[in-house]
Symmetry: D2
């Protein structure tokens, strides 16, 4: 199939490379063209702007950084016009408010919006082992499903309404933030009693919490190794903010998310916005002044 | 070995039965004697009071309900006297403050205190598959280790200081409470958008959160099935309280634990103290008035 | 002076009436013209649209409901063009983000933006007894100061930068919300022990907390009298949201504000968005299930 | 009247001096006798132990530091025996749990317990201008009321049940902590925007918050002047703890109190336990890293 991919950051590149390997004719556009050089060397086609890309393909994937990028690149009259009759698969984590605007704009232009947000860090994307949620009109989902599957360990159908896939992704990220925040807080406690984060989290992540989320972040906390960031504090703050905004729109109190928001803000105020969000453990330790008190 | 076991609630019975199966001569005492009838039928000996039990054994295990029970049954001058020269293995989750008192009292009576708190619900105890932390003087731990192993999937050594095993257990329970609270809050959000807790948690607990803690409690939340309680709300409140007290004693701010405390109190105020603490999901849904608003 | 006033809600009407009484020639525009009939009967002039109003006056006041109204009515190219050379005094509580946009747009059109947010409920506005903050270019503030004074018990100069007056207003409203939330929580506690909110708050608001904010809201809580709303829950939620957004933009953790956010959301989820925000006391009582337990 | 006073800290000394000035025969006992020298020089009598004091008087006041001191000094069999037939007026802020024990013990010994906790700092006590709550059996309260009045600006009757006066005091202190916490948080926000705490709190404490609690603590925050402490962080932590314990016993969620608990712990972890609890503003500023970022 002739497939487009817009937004070739570190996630997008891994995903697009799987489409290419699967034998599709892949057209790429990225704001900074350098990001696509390697893929072009492997056989992808470079488009000079999104409109030219849309002229070539019947399905376009996007993995843009945030709401603002989606608005600038895709939510413009000419792009919407160029999407007419095509399927747009959005993999990015964006606000529910923007999802609703996008769905309306696609309908108004006889284009089809499929939500396909993903769980997985860049190495997982590069390996084609993402967990991918999928929601949208059944016929469109069926059409793009083979494309989704080449990028994924598993595709999780979430029904007809795109926002249901997006809210699932947003809620899942809140669970991730909570898991990190919980390890941060609990290991600050054990450290105050002389049990290192490494010893504590070793027990926990090999027993009750023997799950990828805990093992990956638990290792970073145990080693106090927060750079380079797989997922930066500032991105975590953005995603917790998407959760709180979605909660607000439907009146759902979320006190744990509120606590995480403050811890993320505190990290950014400390100048740690570029660290991996596992560094929430640094915030918990700082609040307890563990280092100054000579605690493990 | 001649081994005693004091406190034969649903956890203690499962643990003592493993000692019995392993061929030890097991002496039992429980406030209500009915609890030990089945074990006696299988070959255990019944003691009419703790002192008589201590006269028979060289190692005594205890699994009493809370601080108050430990104080009443064990922290008395005659019992401490009877412990002289013996090893006491405490499996219960008690306050750090009481642990410190117990250690002092044991030392003063030439008795040895070994901390061996456990992770696992009653069915796990009955199967001899607990995860057991162990801390205390090395020689004593070495002596009782074979006893610990017959009750456990794995024994995790935590060093010489008993309180380190206890704080690890307490911090671990805070992580469990956080995991439940996080699923509660996140699934309230997805439900407000039409994604059921079952659908949402199915994705999460089969991917990033594919761990026993999440799968067990996630199932209860998905099915809204909170009775009979494996671990009641009121016990969860007690354990979060132990965490907050330990945090207070060493000046460790724990905002997520504070949020959980309030949610547990709210459940108890609602008369739900006897439900499993997975019913934190009921609190999150009530705060968002999901049912009244016809949300999934 | 020829003065305009845009946005004649219940606050704006009281304020404009003071300008009129002081002898100024007052031009009015409001989306719904009925709101200005009484003032026109007292001598004010009605403009059929904001542009016509701006053609008549040298200073224009605005008191619009929220960011969206300000964007629609004032932040448009023709209105900005019509503001050239004039002073715009904004009394409304709006986001810092919008303040910054407004200031830039005014500068770009050689118009002057003066921030003059107010403390005081409608009856205080009608009596010309507001507390009014004022910030903007010194010359412009000096020019409009006589106008501000006729509406105010006191004008509080806050310097040259308009956002400083706005952040002061926003932070003040967070203090109000905290005061209400604190009375709500503390009186839920006393009620659980048989001391009514009335008895408790009577002591507090006549001693340590003998201040208008506590006495006014304390009375509403004591009487459980939340309608008609002087300031509705939904407006409170909006203002706490402005505070959290401002905190986010400058990385200031605000955990009390986060707690208030959740309580306000819970009230709105319960269908109480139209009650006065003093009904935070209803949320605190509901969480403790006081009524079901027969507490005072 | 022959009156005893036990516990002559800085509050107790001021209170006892008023009894003396009013012409009563005042007997004193304090653990450290130096604290009573000045009062003895003014005519008070020194007792060498609490039992000798009780032998002389018909009413005894106590103002001991905390639960532990009350237990050690008063809740002993000989002292309870010596209280038989007498009235004990307790001015201290203690736990509701201990209040209930004291009431039972007094009843068992035909002694009468009157609760008379106070609002006011040491200078207010020395001036005889406290606000004093009073609860207990009506006859006893009537008998001691003249004594209470010489120490107070006003005596607030709270009925027959002593715990109602105590819970009112505890809830009042939570309101004070919230007021400080709210000023701390709100002024951290304004400072991030260039409005000093002094400028911000000047507006607030002269308008909506023109009350003693806000003006006193607001001044300390504005001046960042936290020593010597009128009421130390560690005492504030104790009192918030009494509030949370009372809330727990009657299942009342108190999220704002939980936030304050963490901030107080953070201050103590930082080594600031001896500062006045107005230094909660220091915690809020530290979390936002205002100083490092050069904010006002």
């Amino acid at each position: 199939m002739k497939v487009g991919f817009v937004g070739l950051g570190v996630m997008g590149r891994g995903m697009a490379s799987q489409l290419l390997k699967a034998g599709h004719e892949v057209w790429l556009w990225n704001r900074s063209p350098r990001a696509i050089e390697a893929l072009v060397a492997e056989g992808a086609h470079a488009a000079t702007d999104p409109l030219k890309l849309l002229a070539e393909v019947e399905v376009v994937h996007s993995m843009l950084a945030n709401d603002q990028a989606v608005r600038q690149v895709l939510l413009t009259p000419p792009v919407l016009e160029a999407l007419r009759g095509k399927v747009h698969v959005n993999h990015a984590t964006i606000s529910i408010e923007l999802v609703r605007e996008l769905v309306k704009a696609h309908v108004a232009h006889q284009a089809t919006y499929v939500a396909a947000p993903v769980f997985g860090r860049p190495d997982v994307a590069a390996a084609g082992r993402l967990n991918m949620l999928a929601a949208g009109p059944a016929e469109a989902v069926a059409k793009v499903r083979p494309l989704l599957e080449v990028m994924s360990a598993k595709v999780w159908p979430m029904g007809d309404l795109p926002e249901r896939a997006h809210i699932t992704k947003i809620a899942g990220n809140l669970m991730l933030a909570s898991a990190i925040g919980s390890m941060a807080e609990a290991s600050a406690l054990t450290r105050a009693y002389g049990v290192s984060a490494a010893d504590f989290l070793d027990v926990m992540t090999r027993t009750l919490f023997a799950a990828p989320a805990y093992q990956g972040y638990g290792k970073m906390i145990a080693e106090e190794h927060y750079q380079p960031a797989g997922f930066a504090m500032a991105l975590g703050y953005k995603d917790v903010g998407l959760g709180l905004a979605a909660a607000s729109a439907e009146q759902v109190p979320m006190p744990i998310a509120g606590v995480l928001r403050d811890a993320l803000l505190e990290a950014m105020a400390a100048g740690d916005g570029e660290l991996d969000w596992a560094a929430l453990a640094k915030v918990a330790a700082a609040r307890a002044h563990l280092q100054q008190r000579g605690k493990a």
